[in-house]
């Protein structure tokens, strides 16, 4: 997959990241890099990772998503994953992936709403 297809879009004070449907490991890692670079450039309030296209979330993919969320957090922004497909949620939970600590939304629309609200149970790092 060509890395130039990876979409990291600045939307007002947010970043919208579209995670591709079928990504190999290199692409997933490249996406992480691209997100972090965009964060430095745009200083977004939140980063919404749209995973609605993703049909298979295996442990490598999940770890990259989870690490990316953690990196976004410690850089001082907020990570929200949006749009996980039901079947993916089932498989990810059965396989034992722990994504529960990441903020999540049903879809991008709701993620944008969520980004406007203060983070639940979150003590600011500032």
């Amino acid at each position: 997959m060509n890395e130039s297809h990876l979409s990291v879009l600045k939307l007002r004070d947010l970043l919208l990241v579209t995670v591709p449907a079928e990504a190999d490991d290199t692409t997933v890692s490249a996406l992480q890099q691209k997100v972090l670079e965009a964060m430095e450039r745009h200083e977004p309030k939140a980063v919404v990772m749209d995973i609605s296209l993703v049909e298979t979330l295996d442990s490598f993919f999940a770890r990259t998503i989870s690490e990316t969320a953690q990196m976004i957090n410690i850089m001082g922004s907020r990570a929200i994953i949006a749009g996980m497909q039901p079947a993916v949620a089932v498989a990810a939970t059965e396989i034992g992936l722990k994504l529960g600590s990441i903020e999540a939304s049903l879809n991008v629309d709701r993620a944008l709403d969520l980004a406007e609200k203060p983070r639940r149970g979150h003590t600011s790092h500032e």
């Binding site: 190999d24 298979t56 442990s59 497909q85 993916v88 498989a91 990810a92 059965e94 396989i95 034992g96």
Partner: protein
């Protein structure tokens, strides 16, 4: 790379799965891209057997873990498959073979959270949970073979 319905690389697959019920179809796993191809093959096979979206995703996820193990630990190997005819309906068998270093202690490798590679240690136990049947054979210095089965209706 197209994302939609399958476009097989011409040199990879010799027959469409359901036309040939003998275990003669396989896919080499020699690079990262092959993990993606293995997932696609598993998805198509599972859909052809008639599995619903949740089971398809379980099968594809298990396949992804096993294909990655082959690539990560052995460098190369293959995935082969069979459509099964069980008493209570069809099933799908996916087999992963490599000639890698083998697993010294399968019991430990099957343990939740154990990883010899700095991974999450979810590959083997996770795949086992997602499938109906799971068999692993490994010989040090000879390689590893993992067989996964899922039945459309559990026997």
């Amino acid at each position: 790379m197209s994302i939609g319905r399958l476009t097989w690389p011409k040199n990879r697959v010799v027959a469409t799965p359901l036309m040939n019920k003998e275990p003669s179809t396989e896919l080499p796993i020699e690079g990262e891209g092959d993990i993606v191809l293995a997932r696609r093959a598993a998805r198509q096979l599972a859909q052809e057997v008639g599995f619903g979206p949740t089971d398809v995703t379980r099968i594809v996820t298990a396949c992804s873990e096993m294909a990655r193990n082959v690539f990560k630990y052995a460098g190369q190997g293959k995935m082969s498959w069979r459509i099964l005819e069980g008493d209570s309906g069809p099933g799908l068998e996916l087999k992963f073979d490599d000639r890698g270093p083998g697993i010294a202690d399968i019991e430990t490798a099957m343990r939740e959270g154990y990883s010899s590679s700095g991974g999450l240690g979810m590959g083997l136990p996770g795949a086992k949970r997602l499938m109906d049947e799971f068999r692993i054979d490994s010989t040090i210095g000879r390689g590893t073979s993992v067989v996964l089965k899922k039945w459309l209706r559990r026997p």
